[in-house]
């Protein structure tokens, strides 16, 4: 793990403005790549908003996860596998597994208090309302992001390599 400051996490590692062809020999679209990089954090923030809005507004873990997944799809479409590997540092199966574990554990926790599986409680912290189903949503969010990135890796990158 490199120790760069957080504002450089997303900085391109390859000389992307200097070459006009990517590793597959396809012409690169500068406009699309730059826009995708600019939009990327915004889309992720939107996805987190949707995740938190979930309990009594439209949104939720599934929707949020899909939107976050779309952010990665955008990067992949713009820059191919180089872009994707630059963004994704963990192996997607681990993300899927972690998400599913969180969701299942959340489902099981209420039984420790003698309540049925999947019971939701709402905690009130002053003006902030927190439903325990949020943890389930976080699990689902991770699961969906993992699945989308995994799909990009297997259906996108490996098919590119098959060719």
């Amino acid at each position: 793990m490199s120790r760069e400051p957080w504002w450089e996490w997303d900085a391109p590692r390859e000389r992307w403005l200097l070459t006009e062809q990517d590793c597959n020999g396809w012409p690169r679209s500068l406009l699309l790549e730059v826009c995708a990089r600019i939009v990327f954090p915004t889309v992720l923030v939107l996805s987190v908003y949707l995740l938190f809005a979930g309990h009594d507004n439209s949104g939720g873990g599934f929707t949020g996860g899909l939107v976050a997944g779309l952010a990665f799809v955008l990067r992949y479409l713009a820059g191919g596998k180089v872009e994707l590997t630059a963004v994704v540092r963990v192996r997607p199966p681990v993300v899927i597994g972690a998400g599913l574990s969180i969701a299942v554990i959340t489902a099981l926790v209420p039984t420790l208090f003698g309540l049925p599986v999947l019971t939701t409680d709402v905690w009130q912290f002053g003006p902030v309302k927190l439903a325990t189903s949020l943890f389930l949503d976080v699990g689902v969010y991770l699961l969906i992001v993992g699945v989308v990135v995994d799909l990009l890796g297997t259906l996108g990158v490996s098919l590119e390599e098959d060719r």
Binding site: D56, F62, L151, T154, L159
Partner: protein, 129 residues
Amino acid sequence: MTINITMAVLLAGLYSVGFYLLMQRSLVRVILGIVILGHGANLFLQGAGGPPGVPPFAGLAAPEVMVDPLPQAMALTAIVITFALTTFLLALAFRSFVLLGHDEVQDDVEDRRVGTTAERNDLVQEAAP
């Protein structure tokens, strides 16, 4: 319960197109058939909830004028499942295309066996006289 006539006609169309495509020999058409059939089934589930009404959010309106949320939840789940399986099917079809080099659905194994036995018998009979 009554069903909207447009909806009924649409459903009938989707189901017949879906089943028609499912009977084809080309794998891509079979998959399209599954996709269309899936849309039909999910729309049907949605339609089973009754006539349209106010969105079922608490406090938006009186419960009597709201639509039934249960079929919507079920349809949403079913849509996600059919979507995921369609993706899987497409990947499998691509794999099959890479491995076999064509996208034709082959005959059933038993059919082929019966076919070859029949052909062999014909040849024997022709050779006999």
